[in-house]
């Protein structure tokens, strides 16, 4: 069952499910020429290079969908009119100590999940830090809210990790900073409404991110509703001997045990109606994911939230991996043991490949929501700057940009930054943010 659904990929043009042996999509007749090593059709648009770099490569080379036209200055193909993929539609990070993959999925028109990852050289060895936020659907500007939240939250966690400080307190500070960053959005005007390509992204080429032609006013943001921007929050700091998680909403962290699949467990608890009903004995745990209440969150970043973030400290019994994810993944596989089976043992040695496997699983299962998966092998691998940087020369620039944005974010957390240079070597901190 699992094998079958995993082998079924999606048509790059219409997103219908296709079989490995198909040469054409049954639904839209698009040619399926790109097959990856695993033997199934790549869901990346034809002609696209390695995922994670697609936006810059395709806008220079031509349309990702019809391969006939160049992409115009406003980001649309001059032949078929399709919008060039936004960098955030599918984003990956591999910091060796941890890896992250986020994808807009098959049904939504933009990715409202955001993820920040960092590695820090700490007095007690390397630490991995991640924050995942999921813009609450139905609220306005969920993509901006989640991005502002992860940017706002990260400095509090990285500061504490670098200084060997109290990570539980830092986690609460991080939520406060994220909360302030989201609240600040309600006060300001919408930035480039209805334009999923994030104009602030320094890594995005101008040709694919240009929001509109000169002289054209921004289109009215029909996606905006009366609800103010809001997002879920989950953070994890994986240190040499413990894992500190913090969550508000229904994004999750899991412990996946390498020695004992049954030892896998969910580290966070959801702030959702379904979780409350399960806790009150009104709903069976196994029915929770499919219940209509599964996605009604009872805690969030943004206006009118009354729930408190919950912090947990966990001391892993041995080898394994920490998974941090949005509901786009756990909707299809919420069971910790099942997730461990899919991610391990790969997550221990190649967390990026394992994170991709989780995301592809959710896509093959329907990809109804945005999907984010971050995997941190435990214990965190020693930080090896030379090796890591040799393999990531191209992201050094975005590291710096991402980190400086994070440190310039609102909140008291940035007050005692260790230094002005956010790049890896000087401070022992490396940061990447999905945008």
């Amino acid at each position: 069952m699992t094998g079958e659904s995993a082998a079924r990929a999606a048509c790059p043009v219409c997103a219908a499910a296709v079989w490995p042996e198909d040469n054409f999509c049954e639904h839209c007749q698009a040619p399926l020429t790109e097959h990856d090593g695993a033997g199934h059709a790549s869901r990346q648009p034809a002609g696209e290079p390695a995922i994670g770099q697609q936006a810059s490569a395709t806008s220079a080379a031509g349309c990702a969908y019809c391969s006939a036209g160049p992409v115009g200055a406003d980001g649309y193909c001059e032949a078929c009119g399709r919008k060039a993929p936004a960098p955030r539609d599918h984003w990956e990070s591999d910091l060796a100590v941890l890896a992250a993959v986020t994808d807009k999925g098959l049904r939504h028109y933009r990715n409202e999940d955001a993820v920040a990852v960092a590695t820090a050289r700490t007095p007690r060895g390397p630490a991995a830090i991640t924050v995942v936020c999921d813009g609450v659907s139905g609220a306005a500007r969920g993509d901006e809210a989640s991005l502002a939240a992860v940017r706002g939250a990260l400095p509090a966690l990285s500061d504490a990790a670098l200084a060997g400080g109290d990570l539980v307190a830092a986690s609460r500070l991080a939520v406060q900073a994220a909360q302030l960053a989201v609240a600040a959005l309600s006060e300001g005007p919408a930035v480039a409404p209805a334009t999923p390509a994030a104009p602030a992204n320094s890594a995005a080429p101008a040709s694919s991110a240009a929001p509109a032609a000169p002289g054209k006013p921004a289109a009215p943001d029909l996606s905006g509703s009366a609800d103010p921007p809001s997002a879920t929050f989950v953070s994890a700091v994986v240190a040499a001997d413990q894992v500190i998680t913090c969550s508000l909403g229904d994004s999750r962290a899991y412990w996946l045990d390498a020695a004992d699949p049954a030892g896998a467990r969910q580290l966070t608890s959801d702030d959702s109606l379904a979780a409350e009903m399960v806790a009150a004995g009104l709903l069976a745990a196994e029915d929770a994911a499919s219940s209509p209440q599964a996605h009604v969150v009872t805690g969030w970043l943004g206006a009118d939230n009354e729930a408190e973030p919950r912090v947990t400290t966990f001391s892993p019994p041995g080898c394994g991996a920490v998974l941090v994810c949005s509901d786009g993944l756990w909707n299809y596989l919420g069971d910790a043991a099942g997730l461990a089976e899919l991610a391990l043992p790969g997550a221990l040695t190649d967390p990026l490949a394992a994170a991709r496997r989780l995301v592809e699983f959710a896509l093959a299962a329907g990809g109804h929501d945005n999907i984010t998966a971050v995997l941190v092998p435990f214990p965190p691998a020693p930080h090896e700057p030379e090796q890591a940087e040799a393999g990531r020369a191209s992201v050094a620039q975005s590291d710096a940009a991402g980190a400086s944005t994070a440190q310039a974010g609102p909140g008291q957390a940035g007050a005692d930054q260790p230094g002005d240079d956010p790049s890896g070597d000087a401070t022992g901190l490396t940061v990447e943010i999905s945008a």
Binding site: A15, C28, G69, D74, K83, R107, H108, A212, K216, A219
Partner: protein
Amino acid sequence: MSQDDFTVDVFQNEYLPEGGQEANAIVTVTSPDAGQASPADAAGPAGTAEVIIIDCSGSMSSPPSKMSQAKVATAAAIDVISDGAAFAVVAGTELARPVFPPDGSMVVASAQIRQQAKLAVETLRPSGGTAIGQWLRLAYQLFGSYPATLRHAILLTDGKNEHESPADLEAAIGLCEGEFSCDCRGVGTDWVVDELRRIASGLLGSVDIVPDPAGLAADFEAMMHSAMAKEVADVALRVWTPRSASVRFVKQVAPAVEDLTGRRTQSGAQAGDYPTGAWGAGESRDYHVCVQVPPAGLGQEMLAARVSLLVGSDVHGQGLVRAVWTDDEALSTRINSQVAHYTGQAELAQAIQDGLEARKRGDEDTATSQLGRAVALAHSSGNDGTARLLAKVVDVVDVETGTVRLKRAVAEADEMALDTRSTRTVRTRK
């Protein structure tokens, strides 16, 4: 805020349901403020040419006030022509004759020339038939003899085009399309609304009824003021669409409904140009663009149309019509108020024309239901001008439901006024 170039604003709901194939948008084009158009684009008086065409057929003598008022009106219009602009006056019968200058050329206006022209107009005597195609052909020749970019005619008639075939008239309109614009006026009630509407439509001008000849002078003066206020000639909308997409229609919807779909000139493999004529300073017009697109998957986005404003061959503004497929019904079912409003205004014009046509045929049921529908649409959209015209043709029983009774006695002028002005729209109440 001073505006120094054309702007193009797009109003739409870009969200389509799964499999949705139609993208609709209202495109609002606004021209630069007075004196702000670049000198390269502004024509100025030296680039302006006017031809006034006066019906001199025998019927203009009954009542005699028609001819005398037409002369007064022509003189009033001549007085408005700016120094430096070229003009000519044409007398129309079953033939066309240059009245001033009498040699069949254009003349540059000055105080003295205007005086001479008015004296020449005084000599006009009604006699003969009506062949409007001939009048248009002479205007075409006159405009062709003078290098102006803003070319505009005023055409006055009081009767049916009966001394040439409809095909002759149609051929003349085809000849003149794109060469000059023409505002048409019918005086009295013996002319045919559809004929003048066809000319005005082809030549991107207005059409109206002047039931009482006494109203001609003020109307001519206003028309000529408006013509003199035009600054930029040959403005077009260029609509780019993706491969496998097609333009369903492009309609001007404000200030009046004018279907431009058939006026497309292909300007590229995936682009066509739609003429909008000449623009005055600070003018604003709305267009409804409807494009059929090949559906993409949920979550995908496509550019359904790129609408560019062209002056000559230069792009002066651009707007994007987008299509985003979503399974979020709250988004895909949202009605864009602009699109809905103008869809209603176009229906209003159609209901009036269909209703009046049914009434002429004696099909009172259709007439009652169509005119009733028009009453309800005019009311709900705040088109008070059209509502007043409707009230002269039907007795309104219930304005909300559009329940009406046809009036037994309707003045011909009222019916023609309703028909002629049926395409006039109002903008949305913001």
